[in-house]
């Protein structure tokens, strides 16, 4: 306890610094993956993507980031073995943050695809097992989390496939696809607003002290969906048939109708990404703040302070505005295979899955889910060719990131323990 009263401020400052650095890294790095399908389909420019991401990542982090932050903060580490040595938890959380942030830096510099979620979870398990013991980890929760890592890309793929099939049946396989697209377009836009709102607001937001019954959740979600649909309808109404392009590719004008719709899915994806990944940076920070402010209580009973959420959101925005721009250039070239209809399906499916995971407090990899969603579209025979080797890369990143994060965190943990006692 003396360590906390003696070094409390220093540790707090370190925690804020590391946490901010981590969220900055998340913004710079991860955002490209989240916005990749939207930019790649040519529906929005990189500049527009940055603007959308700035607004909606922050919104997602602040409004919907609470549950996953709770999991990272107190769901993974079992506080019972640490009751008499709360400073160990502080060292551990600091170590995890530092390890994940440094791994992120190394992998990005080398051009390896990295999941910030896997990094932080691997780091937390690493320091806990190495520094304290096997019983320091809540293995039941870890089991749930790992299961979600396997299930979520599959779910994303499934939803994308269903969306793709519905668009084919309702729009493409008809007498007048263009008119059908204009008629059904607003409904699909409604879907974007409705699903994201419903999942996020269902039964209220605990950390924002917003209580909503099931019925109220549906009502608010429907209202938001309708507003969004109205805006969408106005944007779609402006789309004209392009006869020249249609002669070359019969469905060119239909794709043009879906282009403004992708703006909405881009917003949804940014929101979803912010809601799930902000926790990777501020979860450990929240744990440290709680221990220091309570003078050594590890049980983490206090509510999540809002300033931490704001810090997390701001960190992501700064990250994507500074370095994210350059990173997004790597997907800047238009992926011709990714037409707006397919981009819409993949992005909405991914956003829905991530937001669902955020609601249930499960930290997932937005990148892997996005890949799963695109593969889902491919399975509906909607993509010319998908490179299966990417899946291999993802599996490898699992095998490398988890132990790398764990080992780095263990090393830093012992270093900090040595420095501060």
């Amino acid at each position: 306890m003396e360590i906390i009263s003696e070094w409390g401020t220093v540790l707090l400052v370190l925690a804020i610094l590391f946490g901010a650095y981590m969220t900055w890294g998340i913004g710079a790095n991860d955002v490209a993956n989240a916005m990749g399908t939207s930019v790649g389909s040519g529906a929005i420019t990189v500049k527009q993507a940055i603007l959308i991401a700035a607004i909606f990542e922050f919104a997602g982090a602040f409004i919907a980031g609470g549950n996953v932050t709770k999991t990272i903060r107190k769901g993974i580490i079992d506080p019972a073995p640490l009751v008499h040595n709360p400073e160990l938890l502080i060292y551990g959380m600091l170590a995890a943050l530092l390890a994940a942030a440094i791994w992120l830096m190394i992998a990005s510099a080398r051009g390896w695809p990295v999941s910030t979620t896997h990094s932080i979870v691997g780091a937390l398990v690493g320091f806990a097992v190495a520094g304290i013991g096997m019983d320091a980890v809540n293995w039941g929760k870890i089991g749930q989390v790992v299961a979600s890592w396997v299930v979520s890309p599959v779910l994303g793929g499934l939803i994308a496939l269903l969306l793709m099939v519905s668009i084919r049946k309702l729009i493409f396989d008809t007498d007048n696809p263009f008119h059908k697209a204009k008629a059904w377009g607003p409904v699909y836009v409604f879907l974007v607003g409705w699903i994201v709102s419903l999942v996020t607001l269902f039964k209220g937001l605990h950390h924002l002290h917003l209580a909503l019954s099931t019925g109220e959740s549906f009502a608010v979600a429907t209202a938001i969906g309708l507003v969004v649909a109205f805006i969408g309808k106005a944007m779609i109404a402006r789309v004209q048939v392009d006869e020249q392009a249609d002669r070359d590719f019969h469905f060119a004008s239909v794709e043009k109708v879906f282009t403004p719709m992708m703006v909405f899915t881009a917003c949804a994806m940014a929101f979803a990404h912010g809601s799930n990944d902000v926790a990777n940076g501020i979860g450990p920070l929240a744990a440290i703040v709680s221990i220091i402010q309570s003078g050594g209580e590890v049980a983490q009973k206090s509510a999540l302070p809002l300033w931490i959420l704001v810090l997390g959101g701001a960190g992501i925005v700064v990250g994507l505005a500074t370095l994210g721009y350059r990173v997004m250039q790597t997907i800047g070239h238009k992926i011709t295979e990714l037409t707006p209809t397919r981009g819409y399906c993949a992005t909405l499916a991914a956003a829905t899955t991530v937001v669902l995971a955020s609601k249930t407090g499960l930290p997932v990899s937005t990148t892997h889910i996005a890949v799963g969603a695109v593969i889902g579209v491919g399975l509906a025979r909607g993509v010319g060719a998908l490179d299966g080797r990417v899946i291999g890369n993802i599996v490898v990143s699992w095998l490398v990131t988890l132990p790398a994060g764990g080992i780095l965190a263990a090393v830093f943990f012992f270093m900090l323990k040595g420095i501060f006692g």
């Binding site: 990148t367 025979r381 909607g382 993509v383 010319g384 998908l386 490179d387 890369n393």
Partner: protein
């Protein structure tokens, strides 16, 4: 800061556009064949050589594109259509250009003389076979629409109808070819025996262009059936 973006890396080189481009090149090549025979019938040496050069050059361009396409089809790619079906389609397309090349080559190596009563039927035969090739080209052009609709529904039915029409035109070319052969055999006593043999070969080759075109249609039927 170098980053591999998994989303960008996920998309492999789509084979559809290159296959359509290849078909356009093949059609370019095959379209020179009527010109070849016009020059032969008119007895215009210069025009004949020109047409032959054009065919050879275009066939080479098509081959280059085909090789490039094969290089970009690694085993790790998941495609909307079976890799083998696509490669066979490419082969059929290539065979059309190769056959045109064979015809042009022979016409220049050996002085072939057209009998007066065979000129018109020959012209018609060649025209019809090239028409078959063009119809096949129209079907290949529908590949990107088929992809958009998942190889099902109205678009698939439309392509099937086009394939049926293609079959009918090819049947016609069979008839025209047989009529031409009949005329050849009616004339055989008048003509040099070796010439008769090579004329028969040329008729085979011209008919082959239409046959391969029909096979192109069949390949696309297979892709839809899947």
């Amino acid at each position: 800061m170098k980053t591999t973006n998994p989303i960008a890396a996920l998309f492999g080189h789509s084979p559809f556009k290159p296959v359509q481009q290849h078909m356009h090149l093949v059609l370019d090549c095959v379209s020179e064949v009527p010109r070849l025979f016009d020059a032969l019938i008119a007895g215009d040496e210069a025009a004949l050589t020109q047409a032959k050069e054009a065919i050879f050059a275009k066939e080479q361009t098509a081959d280059d594109l085909e090789n490039q396409l094969r290089v970009h089809l690694p085993r790790g790619l998941f495609m909307a259509v079976d890799r083998r079906d696509l490669l066979e389609l490419l082969e059929m397309q290539d065979s059309m250009a190769d056959t045109a090349q064979d015809i042009a080559g022979l016409l220049l190596e050996r002085r072939m003389e057209v009998e007066a009563d065979m000129a018109e039927p020959l012209r018609e035969f060649v025209a019809r076979c090239v028409e078959t090739a063009r119809q096949a080209g129209g079907i290949v052009d529908e590949l990107d629409e088929l992809l958009e609709t998942g190889f099902r529904g109205r678009e698939a039915s439309r392509v099937e109808e086009m394939a049926n029409a293609l079959n009918q035109i090819e049947d016609e070319t069979d008839r025209l070819g047989m009529n031409l052969a009949r005329q050849l055999f009616a004339n055989e006593d008048r003509m040099k025996p070796v010439s008769v043999m090579f004329w028969y070969q040329i008729f085979q080759w011209i008919g082959d262009i239409a046959d391969y075109a029909e096979k192109v249609g069949d390949r696309l039927r297979l892709m839809i059936a899947r």
